[in-house]
Structures are given as structure tokens and as C-alpha cells.
Symmetry: C2
Subunit: 452 residues, 2 copies
Amino acid sequence: MTDQGQVVQSLQSDTQETIRTDLRAWILSIGNELLTGRTPNGNFTWLAHRISEAGGRVVGGSVVPDDEDAIVHALGEASRFANLVVLTGGLGGTPDDRTRPALSRFTGRGLRFDEGAWQIVRRYARQLGLSEAEESLRVQALLPEGAEPLENPIGSAPGIWLKTPEAVFVALPGVPAEMRAIFQESVLPRLQREWRLMRVLQWTFRTAGFVEAHVQKCIPEEVVAEVPDSVEVGFYPNDILVDVVVRAPEHQADSGRALAGEIRKYLGHRVYAEEAGVALAAVVGEALRMRGYTLALAESCTGGYLAHCITAIPGSSDYFVGGVVAYHTEIKERWLDVPQRVIHREGVVSEAVARAMAENVARQFGADCALATTGIAGPSGGSTTTPVGTVCIAVVTPGQTQSTRVWLGTDRLEVIRRATIIALEWLRRQLEGLPDADLIQAWMNLPGEQKR
Amino acid sequence: MTDQGQVVQSLQSDTQETIRTDLRAWILSIGNELLTGRTPNGNFTWLAHRISEAGGRVVGGSVVPDDEDAIVHALGEASRFANLVVLTGGLGGTPDDRTRPALSRFTGRGLRFDEGAWQIVRRYARQLGLSEAEESLRVQALLPEGAEPLENPIGSAPGIWLKTPEAVFVALPGVPAEMRAIFQESVLPRLQREWRLMRVLQWTFRTAGFVEAHVQKCIPEEVVAEVPDSVEVGFYPNDILVDVVVRAPEHQADSGRALAGEIRKYLGHRVYAEEAGVALAAVVGEALRMRGYTLALAESCTGGYLAHCITAIPGSSDYFVGGVVAYHTEIKERWLDVPQRVIHREGVVSEAVARAMAENVARQFGADCALATTGIAGPSGGSTTTPVGTVCIAVVTPGQTQSTRVWLGTDRLEVIRRATIIALEWLRRQLEGLPDADLIQAWMNLPGEQKR
């Protein structure tokens, strides 16, 4: 692994200005279900991300079955290249859980009953009303000599922190929620102490409603070209939700901040949040709450997904009144008072119908704002003039109704999801008084006219 | 890796009756983007699944950076344990693509320009109007001596098949679509020839509404204990959606079929589908369609998620009329005609309110069937008598209304998801005239009373 020297130096030459860290991590994933392809190895990706973000370097990873010899061999390989080995899986109390004995055998440290670990296991057992005498529980309190138990706030098996002269070994459960909780609460702070990790600064800009290529084009190439190599810009798309992330090591904070400022300027009103993990629906919710506005929905082609995104946010009952999923045309007519003649004249997938749906649900539900969708999610139901993927969206804010007709692709779930994102982003812009022409124009092409 | 002997034997002792295959695969994933956690290693999971399905055994996997030394070392490790090594990534034409030179160095077979490979590259270049003189293209036609190029129907880089006395090495691009296409079209047929793979039969039983431990308890231990070792039963939970899968090599087809029959009998009415990938909402949709019934929804705590699950299924407009997301109490009263006195007397989270919601939405929307939910998804809004996680569900089928009060945990999205699954499964059972006591009783405990 010749390239380690490029970004990793040993602590011997430590100067706060030039080095990052000598944390070289190996992630060892244990479980037959991974090797049959039954379960995706999300733990690897999550851990690799967290360790990299913290300024460490993941030098490799391996996947092995629930087999003690295989784990012991993999530990040997891992500790040749890494000074931190993070194991996931095999920590439960059943006979096929081999992580504890393998770690003990590899490090030559016998397993002993640990009182601290037992407290963690016992508290969990009591919560669930399990008998403390169960062998499968007591086994989870066995740790290799010299190891520390790590608090598991969610499940029974404590994590393990074992520091040896060669490497630090961290064993975590394979259940993702438990693994994540233990890593965040107990492992990360220890890693920061152990390796005096230099902070990597990070600026995140979340955008909604555009594909990655479109977001990239907002930022002139020369803006990125001029910064030092250690400052990075990344684009992380989840279809039409794209995060732009700037990263800089602490000693390049000024360059990082300057670049982030430039990028923020070019992205402008397209940025709906400057923090990773903030949901668009939560930002829209805050915008409503701040103004004391309420929201109602009238959904046809999005079929309840818009309502689900809104109500997935805790506290949404403060501003969300309710919605109608008007799937059949008759429901649009009888429940949302969309005039039959409008439907006949304009078609059920039309801006006129979307506007009527939005305005009427707002009035009937007594809401200040409303969103409506009507379209053809597919795979069937399309026509030459209204092909699959055509969606009309309407947004009502106090005193104003806007509508548009867009084409969002041919995959049913993609159409549903894109229509939802565009509707939410449009409402956000309306509420915050931001321009919206770019958002609508990006989706005005019909199939065949679409550019990449 | 001591456990290989249990299911894998060498071809020396080959008899059609007793052996499965001696294909032992190792998947070697190459790419810095995997080690920073930026990209999930979906290729690993996909390949592991395909190879297992074909009757091979994945004995391990590793992830290494775009670094020649690291790849060479990993090849050494892989071929210690495996006789098939599948590499993904590092096959492009840029200088950081190191798979070709690493494979050449490890096997001691020099890289030579291959005419067959060049035809594949050139055809792609022409399609895209690229100049054939580009160095980055010519480099993709270099193969280790004795290797075969594999057709790439999507991208430029041909795959590589290299058989040595020690192992077969297969190198594929990291782009998932290219990797998959080459594997399906060119690699799988070669593996079947090379290892005379025996088909593995598989029976899948999908259940909804129960946690894994509960589903396991339906099947007496002795039923599984009596079958040959090569017949396997697996439980694959996604919270309260649990698949039970029986697998048997072709020569154990009878034992597999017998066991599957037993398990099917014990699972009984809990099985909603006998095919992998079939959605519960699609099965409910078919049950409605067959009977010519229509469905309406009245959702409070599930907030549109039930409607989304229904409308995610293509063709759902045949039976789904529409729904009301009655988030605010006022909407329940004014739009769903839930009498104010019932809400005052019983509380808004009550079976009486759920029944009124379901019956009224069915009547008003002119639907034969209806589902309604009202509950506290949390995190706030709970009380001693109605803690967070309490949900009342009502099911209307022609001439009948059923309701229940259940407790579904404390995580907001989990409560929403569980309530949706239980409501759909309950409707399925009502439509098909199946018992439902087990489904309801599994969720009647309040927090603290919960047993695993």
C-alpha cells in the first residue's frame, strides 16, 4: 500500500500545521448473510464515511463468515496494514457468534466475565423482562482481558474497546442502529483522544429539484481549480436531491471557507439547508411554522407520498392540517369541487385541474397554503399529448396560486418522488420569496427533448 | 476457514448425488470511493447474491484502494482461500486504474495488446464518436497473456477472464450496470461450464406483521433438525416483514420440497406470498381486484404512508379510489363526520374514532373496503393512558367493521411503517377469510409488557 505516505504521516513528525493523523483503519465485517448477498454491507459504508470524516484513513476492509478461524486470520491481515481494526457482527449470545473468542485467541487475552459489561446487558434484560440467568445473556458480558465495555443504548451486547501495543480493536454489533449508536457515543470520542485527530472542516449545501450535472454547471470550473489540493469539493446526488460538500483540513480552514463562500454564492437560492441530514420537508415545515401558516394537500399522482414526507417530520401536526388523495376523477370532482367542465375541457392532467385542487383543498381545509399534483406516474395511462411522466403541480400561498406542467421521466416511483421534491422546493421558494424560474424550466422538456 | 468442508467438497470426489460444487469465490472490490464511504459497495452484495444463487459459495471479500501493491497483496490473500476471484473496479483507461497491471504482476503474465478486446473498445468509441487514437482507449485492450476479453454491451472496458492453474480471475468494471451486464452475459455461463454448477432450489414464504422471533416460533425446532445438512432454512427480516427461505441443492430436491411443505403448513395463513420481491400492497391489491372491490383510506398517524404503499403499485387506480389524511381533529370531524361527542368521550386515539373514520370514508368515497388509522407516532403527544406508539386501526369490508388498539414501539417512522403493514395484512386476511387473532394479539402489549 504505497500510497499511504501521501496523506498519512506518523505522529513522530507531528506539527499541528502539516499533518492530519496516522489513524489507519481496517473494517472487518462478519456474517454469513453478507457473503450470500442477502444483506447489503451498509455498516462498512457508514463506518468508512464516519472514520474518513473524522480525519482517519480507511486502508482496507474484509468480509468473512461466522467462523472463528476465518475471523482470526482476517484479524492478522487487518493488523498488518492498520492500527485500528473495527469489527462488526458476531457479538450476540448464540453459538454462531464468534467475534469474542476470535478476538481473545488472536490477541492472546483470555475471556473474563466483566462486571461493567454485565451491568449493560442486565439493564437491557430487565427492560425486556428477560431472565438474567439466560446463558446467551451472560456470554455477552465476557471480554478479552484488558478490554473496556462500550455502552449499548439500544440492544443487549456491549461494544468492546481493546487497546494492544499493535493496534486498537473495536468490536461492534452487526445490527446497524446499535452499531451506529455505540460508534457515535463511545468510539468516536475515544478515537479523537487516541489519535489526536485533526478536525476536517466541512461545509454542506443541500439542493433540491435538479440533477447533479445541473448543479455542477452552476459553479464555474475555475472556482474549484484555484484551491489547494487538500481542499475538496464533492457532489453527492440522490436523484434530484444533490448535496455539494466542501472539505478542508483544519490548517486549510481559510481556503476551505473562501471556497465554500464562493460556492454558496453561485448556488444561491438553490440551497435549502447548510447542514447534512436536514430534510427538505423539515425546512418547508419550519418556513410554514415561522410564518404561522398551515398547509393542506390534494394529491393525485403522488398518491400520498407528499403527505408522508410532510408527516415523517416530528411536530408536523403544528402546521399540517391534512390532505386528500384524490386518485379517482370522481373524488376530484365531488370532494375537491373541481368543475366537471374544466376536467372535460383541459383534461384531468392539466394546470387548471391542479390549481382547482390546490385552491379548493386550501379553502375547504381552512389552510393558508396548499400543494396539488395531478399526472401520469405510469407505466400505463399515457397518451401522445400527455405521456407517462407528465405532472401538473400547483402551489397556493396566501393570495397567490402558481402552477406548472413538467415531465419527470418514465419510472413510476421516480415520477412520484420527483413530483414531491419539486412541489416541496417550489413551496419553499414561494414562502421565502425566492426566484423559481430555474426550478420550473429545468423540467419543461418533453421526452425526446430531454438533454443530459 | 474450517467450515468450508461442511457444504463444499472438491471435484475429486464428484458424484452427482453428493456434491454441490467446489466453487469458492472471493470478491475483491477496488476503489478509493468505497474506502471513504462515499459509495456503497452494491457490487459486492449483487455479486455475492448471484454467485450464491448459482450454487457457488462466497468465502470472503475485501476492499482495497486504487493502488497496485494493495491489489497484488489482496490477490494473494484471495487465492489462498478461493478458486474464483472476482475483481470489480480499476479497469478504466486512466492512470489510477490499476487492476490490469496488478493482475499481470500477480500472475506473472505480461500485458499484451488483444485484438478481440480492441474490437470491443473500438465499437464503443465509434458509437460515442471518440478518436480511436486516444491512449486511454488503447490501454483498455491490454490483457494479461492467456486472458480472454469479455463483451461489454454498455461501456468501453472489456471484462477479463483469466484461468490459471491456481484460480480463475475475473476482472469487471466498477460501474454497476456494466459489471452486471458482463457478469450475466459472459461470466455466469463460463462459471456454469467450469464448475458444472448444480442448481439450488429455493422456496420463499413472505410474512407480514410479526417480528422474526415470532415467525421462528411458528416452526417446531424438530422440523428443521431432521433434514440433511445441505438443506437450509433462513429467516430474513425487514422489521415486521419476514421472509422464510428454504434452499436445497438439486440432488436434495425431495428433502427440500418436503421441508418447504412442512414449513408452509406451520406458517399457514401467515404467508402472504410465495415469491421473493412481491409487495404486500400488491397482494392486497390483487385480492381487491379479484373480488371487484374498491378501497378508500382515512389516515391520521400513518399520514399518507398507507396511501403511498397502495399507489406505489402499478395499476392501483383500478381499485384504489382515494383517501383522506385527517391529521387535525377538525378534519376528522368535518370531513369524515366523526361525531365530536365520540372524540370527547373516547379520545381521538380510540377504536370508536378509527371505526367511524373507516366507515365514513368508505361511505363518502363509495368504496367497498376501507382502512383507518389514528394514533400517536411520537416523539411527543403521548400520555399515560395513550403512550407514544399507541395506534387504533379499523378495517371495513363489505358488511363488516373490525377495529383494534395496538402498541407499536417508540420510533416515529417505525410506528408509521408498522401500523401500515398491520393494516394491510389485516385487510388481506379479512378479504381472504383467514383468521386474524394471532396478528392482533401479537401487538396488544403496552410498553413494559413487551416480550421478545
